[in-house]
């Protein structure tokens, strides 16, 4: 029944709690994806720099652009949530302030991700230009 033991119980019985590297690995894996996604993002930003509304909507109607932009936003907020949590844990000493900021960080990142991906899908899946 070791699956039901608390982290402290695991630490006492078996060494590490075996959860410590989860954030570390998730940060690296998302970083690897973002190397490609952000470079594409810069290219996309340049090609859209002069785009008016109709051109931008048409651009987002292309499945490749919609998928990559949704991925950029999704993986981006995932990665930035981990990084910001690391900063909060490092610099905020007071437990209640720390917990509040960590919670706010999770809320902000997921909310931004949900709004961003929804907006991309709304434009990408809409029929017609206007």
């Amino acid at each position: 029944m070791s699956g039901y033991r608390t982290p402290l119980g695991r630490v006492r019985g078996l060494g590490a709690a075996k959860h410590g590297v989860g954030g570390f690995i998730a940060q690296r894996v998302s970083a690897a994806a973002l190397v490609f996604l952000t470079l594409w993002g810069v290219y996309a930003g340049l090609s859209l720099a002069k785009a008016d509304y109709a051109t931008a909507v048409l651009w987002l109607h292309a499945p490749v652009n919609a998928i990559l932009l949704a991925l950029l936003i999704g993986v981006g907020v995932f990665h930035m949530r981990i990084g910001m949590a690391e900063i909060i844990v490092d610099y905020i000493e007071r437990p209640t302030t720390k917990a509040a900021l960590l919670t706010l960080n999770v809320f902000a990142a997921w909310l931004a991700g949900a709004i961003g991906v929804f907006s991309v899908l709304k434009v990408a899946l809409s029929s017609g230009i206007y």
């Binding site: 970083a31 340049l46 008016d52 509304y53 936003i73 930035m80 007071r94 931004a112 929804f118």
Partner: protein, 141 residues
């Protein structure tokens, strides 16, 4: 073992020697780039919110999109975007540097200094390249 009340800061021993912290270190390159990685990460947090704002404005319609472009196209908007472009390339290059470190390579002081210079150089050159390209496309007018 007595527990501190919830919400209280950890008790601090008075006037004991502390482990070295920012104020006692001479500034050096690898330290500046390390701090820069965090700073640019925070800047990119804002950048991600701006990107989401762009998608929202596009989803909201032509009026909102034009307003968003007007704000980003202003002098202040361009300065923010230049800062975010630099932050992106800096964080990207130094992130790759961190990934190499994760494999155990590149920790020698000379190598770490060299790659730190490379990170800053790449960020400056790539930022310039992107904004010169934007200018040549006539996107800055």
């Amino acid at each position: 073992m007595s527990e501190a009340p919830i919400g209280a800061a950890a008790p601090k021993p008075a006037a004991r020697p502390m482990s070295p912290y920012v104020s006692v270190w001479r500034w050096h390159l690898t330290m500046a780039v390390s701090i820069g990685h965090r700073a640019t990460g925070v800047a990119l947090y804002v950048g991600a919110l701006i990107l989401v704002g762009w998608a929202v404005s596009l989803a909201a319609g032509p009026g909102a999109y034009d307003l968003f472009r007007l704000i980003l196209g202003s002098i202040l908007g361009k300065l923010v975007l230049i800062g975010i472009t630099f932050s992106l390339f800096f964080h990207l290059a130094n992130g790759v540097r961190h990934l190499v470190w994760d494999f155990g390579a590149g920790f020698q002081p000379k190598t770490a200094d060299m790659t730190a210079v490379a990170v800053v150089a790449f960020a400056v050159v790539a930022t310039l390249a992107v904004w010169v390209a934007a200018g040549m496309m006539g996107a800055l007018a």
